[in-house]
């Protein structure tokens, strides 16, 4: 631990020295009587001050949580020598909230303060005492956190010295957004050959009726449509659409984050991406991710629970990273964007590079659905005539951009705050049906 003397030592010793000198010079024993206690206290403090023997461990009760959950950080303290006063300060990362009550039922009153927020308490430890402080933190925002950034400060009996120590045994915690229940998803224009839940446009074994055709050798008798056979006078069989899986790539525009009282566009995008990933993976589709921003992250499409956790882990590391570098989709590995994949883009359509990347995807013939997470409500009401005019111009500009995407074959739907993701997806699906991009 790092030892520091307090300012009190210098003040006491200086005043004592002055008083003694004055007493000696003026021949006044009263000044010696005034100086003596100060000097004696410093001598006693120096004589009794010993470096505290203190062990501390930080542990978090879990590694994964959902937004709204409460996690417990346990700080275990063990003192080899008596510690008169030990200040414990836990840094609470932004996105998490400190407790409102007392930890471990003790009389310690914790508190979270401003930025950076902290939880702090002061305790006394006897020699050989072990104490565990349980600190409950609420997860307010998704993200990848490091918990356990703890500062310790010990004081001696006379408060002449402090010993400080920083514990950097960080414990990881990933907070996932609560997935929304989605009953209908954007259906892909093309499917893979593997079995899934999407009705493929091709003909084959399946449930959905597609067409009738004449019986051919090799057809199964159960495929024969007896009513049509009776009407036509020849054997007719039902053709069906097979249920197939698809590749879905979630395209997350993280160049800019527009924040407002109603939340941020990135928070909404990440929440929607997590919900979509969980829903598509439940349908046995393969889901990939391209987080396109200052940090470009990608995951090749994969299926199953492992892919979901991998994708969520990657999503949690999404952040806005300021960069002026121009990013294009040519930087992505080819297998990240399979040819027949349905790309669902979640973007506020604010950054030029993100907008251009979507045009690039359309030019390459990808099946693209764009959810435009509207930043208009987050920017607040524009003040004055010119502010209102600027806001209207911006809205017009955004509408023009959406029309340009639609002309190139993408389904683009604006997602205002008032709408649920499910409503937006239904609107995207309707838009795709009108454009002939999705099976009717």
């Amino acid at each position: 631990m790092t030892r520091r003397p307090s300012a009190k030592i210098a003040a006491y010793v200086g005043v004592a020295a002055l008083a003694l000198l004055a007493g000696l010079t003026l021949g006044r024993p009263e000044l010696v009587a005034v100086a003596a206690p100060l000097a004696v206290l410093v001598v006693a403090g120096l004589a009794t001050a010993r470096d505290p023997e203190l062990d501390a461990e930080v542990a978090v009760d879990r590694e994964r949580a959902l937004v709204g959950d409460q996690v417990t950080v346990t700080l275990s303290l063990r003192a080899g020598t008596r510690v008169e006063r030990l200040e414990v300060l836990l840094v609470v990362p932004p996105g998490m909230e400190g407790p409102a009550g007392s930890p471990g039922g003790s009389s310690v009153a914790p508190r979270t303060t401003g930025t950076p927020r902290t939880w702090a308490a002061a305790v006394t430890l006897a020699a050989g005492e072990e104490r565990a402080l349980d600190i409950g933190l609420s997860c307010r925002r998704w993200g990848a956190y490091w918990l356990g950034d703890v500062h310790l400060r010990a004081h001696d009996r006379f408060r002449l010295f402090t010993w400080e120590r920083h514990l950097d045994r960080h414990a990881p915690l990933k907070v996932f957004p609560v997935p929304e229940a989605l009953r209908a998803l954007v259906r892909p224009a093309e499917t893979l050959v593997s079995t899934g839940s999407h009705v493929a446009p091709q003909r084959g074994d399946g449930i959905e009726f597609a067409d009738l055709r004449s019986f051919m050798p090799g057809d199964r008798p159960r495929s024969i449509n007896w009513r049509a056979t009776a009407r036509r006078g020849g054997l007719m069989v039902n053709q069906r659409h097979p249920e197939r899986a698809t590749d879905v790539v979630l395209f997350l525009d993280s160049f800019l984050d527009v924040r407002g009282p109603a939340g941020s566009t990135l928070d909404r995008a990440v929440g929607a991406a997590a919900s979509l990933a969980a829903a598509y993976l439940r349908q046995r589709d393969r889901v990939g991710l391209v987080s396109f921003g200052g940090f470009v992250q990608w995951l090749q499409p994969g299926g199953g629970q492992t892919a979901l956790y991998r994708l969520l882990d990657t999503l949690m590391e999404t952040q806005v990273f300021a960069t002026a570098a121009w990013k294009g989709i040519r930087h992505l590995p080819p297998r990240t964007l399979p040819a027949k994949a349905l790309i669902v883009a979640l973007t506020p359509l604010v950054d030029e590079r993100g907008v251009a990347a979507l045009f690039d995807l359309l030019a390459r013939g990808y099946d693209l659905a764009v959810v435009d997470i509207s930043p208009l409500a987050r920017t607040g009401a524009a003040g004055g005539e010119w502010g209102g005019l600027a806001e209207r111009l911006w809205a017009l500009e955004r509408e023009t951009l959406r029309h340009r995407y639609q002309r190139l074959g993408a389904a683009v739907v604006e997602w205002p705050d008032a709408l649920h993701l499910q409503q937006v997806l239904l609107e995207v699906e309707a838009c795709r049906r009108r454009a002939g991009l999705a099976p009717g």
């Binding site: 003694l20 007493g23 003026l26 005034v34 100086a35 003596a36 410093v42 303060t113």
Partner: protein
């Protein structure tokens, strides 16, 4: 409620320290009259302002506040003539009590709340320090009034004590911070 207790400790200690400093600053004024009293009133005012600031806001002013209080008391002592001030141990104990309360007020940071045993132990240490200071002051004054040894012996003791204190100053002035080894 935890939050009020945290603010209460800080405020109580700060106000108590200020009150003690006010007594220390105003009490010596009763001993003097005339122009000296008027001049010392200004010094007392300055001492109270510094003491209050040190206790409530700026901990770095603790040293100057103590020095001004001591200076005022010294001037009053000089004005008394040869008579020994029997209240000197009280002044010494008060000075220590003020300094301890002021540093306690600064120690009670807004973001940190102390559990009850910490507060109780601290209160006991402060009270015991003040009482010990009172006893020590009385002992020093008694020793000063002893006839044995005469003035030369007392002078020698004073020189030794002052020298030891100056040695202590040198010891304290040396860097006392230690840094934890890396790794």
């Amino acid at each position: 409620m935890p939050a009020p207790r945290r603010a209460r400790t800080r405020l109580t200690c700060g106000l108590a320290a200020t009150a003690v400093a006010a007594v220390l600053a105003l009490a010596p004024l009763a001993e003097v009259t005339g122009t000296l009293r008027e001049a010392l009133a200004w010094v007392a005012g300055l001492a109270m302002v510094l003491a209050a600031a040190a206790a409530l806001r700026l901990g770095s002013l603790l040293g100057p506040a103590l020095v001004v209080l001591l200076a005022e008391y010294t001037v009053v002592l000089v004005g008394r003539g040869d008579r020994i001030d029997a209240a000197a141990p009280l002044f010494g104990a008060g000075l220590l009590l003020y300094a301890e309360l002021a540093s306690w007020a600064r120690e009670a940071r807004p973001g940190v709340s102390d559990e009850r045993p910490v507060l109780v132990t601290r209160a006991i240490v402060v009270a015991a320090s003040a009482l010990a200071a009172l006893g020590l002051g009385v002992l020093v004054l008694l020793a000063a009034t002893l006839p044995a040894g005469g003035g030369l012996a007392r002078l020698a003791i004073g020189v030794v004590a002052t020298t030891l204190t100056l040695v202590l100053v040198v010891v304290v002035a040396r860097p006392m911070s230690t840094r934890a080894p890396r790794g």
